[in-house]
């Protein structure tokens, strides 16, 4: 097989298995794909290390020991042993192992085959019919090469856009894919969900981008758009019934959870300190209050009801801080609350955080009147 084929195969498999688009890692894997051919002085690796090639050439035929599982194990153990001393070498160790292994494995599809199980002298091939196997430098190999280039470009593109699973999840647009991305990046980035669906109350079409606040249920989400909260899922209590949902990683934002104990204390006083510029703050938990009978909780049937009042207590679920302060802030409460803050890291250096807050808004229920959620395709 030609050197360029080895480079491409090893580079592509390295990118595929490691899910990376890092050029130095892919290059390491690609170059490692040339190493098995060190057993002949005519190869690039053999020309670079002629004394090693000479040892192989004097003892055995081409595609022997260096094209075997044993050689791969040797390379892997050497590379991974090096990572004990140089931890930064780990991705390169994986790349070299994968690149080397697929470098020789590609020769299985050539007419000559490889001694994969060396020192057992069996020439492993695929398929069994030699006429259907590749011949080095033949037209068949160039056709395969063209396919390889296409596959390589696809994989590099997929990896540079979040990886195979992310792209696949985008393709199938299922809630589990969003959960996957949320679990992966939710603590350090804003997750922007693109939802297509219908409003559960009147079945109006919904299409738009929402900020994912938190997961609700197995495959449901509390999302925010234009200062309004919605529950998007396929459950009966959702405001948005999902047809398609994909997610993208947004700006850097660190999510922190803090717990607050209230012992008949004014809610305003306790929670005001969490009102930070540029941060989206949501409160969850349960509070008991003596004034519960006199308080009226505003309710918009098109939005998620993040504050619910029963006879004895308030139940808060992802309630925007401003809304909590405006609705029940003046009361004295007892209970435990969890405060989720989504802090834009860029906010500390500039005013972008405010922009972000303004963009998604968390100002409170009904604060902007009857604005549509997302892009309401069919408004009522």
């Amino acid at each position: 097989m030609l050197g360029i084929s080895h480079l491409l195969i090893s580079g592509t498999t390295t990118a595929l298995f490691l899910g990376t688009a890092e050029p130095s890692v892919i290059l390491s894997g690609a170059i490692a794909g040339l190493l098995p051919d060190i057993d002949t002085s005519l190869s690039p690796a053999g020309r670079m290390f002629p004394w090693i090639a000479a040892i192989f050439e004097s003892k055995q035929g081409h595609r022997g020991a260096s094209h075997s599982l044993l050689a791969s194990a040797l390379i892997a153990s050497t590379c991974y042993a090096a990572t004990f001393f140089f931890p930064w070498f780990l991705p390169y160790a994986s790349a070299i192992t994968i690149g080397f292994s697929f470098g020789w494995f590609a020769d299985v599809f050539t007419q000559g085959g490889v001694e994969m199980f060396w020192p057992v002298h069996l020439l492993c091939v695929c398929p069994g019919n030699r006429n259907l196997r590749l011949r080095t430098g033949s037209n068949g190999e160039y056709i395969v090469l063209a396919f390889l280039i296409a596959i390589a470009l696809t994989i590099f593109s997929v990896n540079s856009h979040g990886g195979l699973f992310t792209q696949f999840n985008r393709l199938i647009a299922s809630p589990s894919g969003v959960v996957h991305l949320y679990n992966e990046q939710g603590d350090t980035h804003k997750i922007i969900a693109t939802i297509q669906g219908v409003r559960s109350s009147d079945r109006a079409k919904i299409e738009g981008k929402f900020l994912l606040v938190q997961q609700s249920g197995n495959n449901g989400f509390i999302v925010l758009s234009d200062g309004k909260l919605y529950k998007a899922s396929n459950e009966p209590d959702a405001q948005i019934l999902i047809e398609n949902i994909t997610a993208d990683v947004g700006d850097t934002a660190v999510t922190s959870i803090e717990s607050v104990n209230l012992d008949d204390e004014p809610i305003n006083t306790v929670l005001t300190k969490f009102s930070r510029s540029g941060a989206l703050v949501f409160v969850s938990g349960q509070l008991t209050s003596d004034d519960i009978d006199t308080t009226t909780i505003p309710h918009d049937p098109y939005q998620f009801q993040s504050i619910k009042a029963s006879k004895e207590s308030y139940t808060l679920e992802a309630a925007p801080l401003e809304q909590v302060l405006s609705v029940i802030g003046d009361e004295f409460g007892t209970g435990v609350l969890q405060v989720r803050s989504i802090n834009s890291t860029v906010n500390t250096q500039g005013s972008r955080g405010d922009g972000e807050q303004g963009r998604w808004g968390a100002g409170g229920q009904g604060s902007r009147g009857e604005r549509v959620m997302g892009n309401l395709v069919k408004d009522d």
Partner: protein
Amino acid sequence: MLSHLFIGKTSSQQSNSTPSLTPDKPPEFHVYRQNEMKQARAALLAQGALCLWGEEGCGKSVLANAIVQSLRQEGYLVAHTEPSTPKQMLSFITEQFGLETYTLEGKQLSLEGLKLQLSDFMFHNSAVLVVDDAQLCKPDFRHWLKKCKKRGGCNLLLLATNPPLADIFLSVPRIQLRPMSEKAIREIMIEAAYHRGIKLTASELARLQSRAGGNPTLAIRAIEEEYLGIDQEAADHKRYFDITPLLLIAGTIFVIIRFIGVGTSDQSLYILGGIGGAIFLGLSRLIYSLPKEGRRVN
């Protein structure tokens, strides 16, 4: 050409830095299959029978020649024959043992007469009979060999390519002639290159050696092809192992992924595993429907 198979002791310790490994003078005679030769000689000298078998071109005939030559040098009476008609073979063996093939009346002995005379002779004398390519001998002749062995006193060496499990081959102990070592094959190739007058570097020999597969005949053929400028990558030896089924087993990984997707309610894993499994299933059907390689040259 086969006589070259055991002539191969060269100066393999030549420096690797020299571009050509072809020696300047003819190497000395060398028998590579020393163990098999010793075993065969021991069996024959102990009035036993033995079958040496192996693949086509593995060096049986040359080994037979070497054994016959060594026994004759030591003064043993040895007849060495190859497949022909039973009567021709029996006549040839009779002549080699120095027996008469004609009756007192001057008539040529019949087939049965030859058989009787030879079996009597081998029973009463320590004569050795070596039959090359014994699998090609007629059943009638092989049956006679079996009877001779049963009677006793028959020092018999059979050399066969993948013999059937029948008649004489069933009753005679067998030794397989396994593929030769890489070192031996390399030396045979260097010797063949010397006789062809071509100079080959270590890398060229390494490339050609992978076409030999431990078979000395194929090793010499690779040199011949190089001499004639025939560019070839695949070889005819029996060391190829089709790993297609192993690759298809890898398809089960997708099925496992699918189950993991079901177990963890991960829709994307479930779908990816399903798609991968279906593709592998289709590929396996495709690969198994590919035409098989014929045993004839094509």
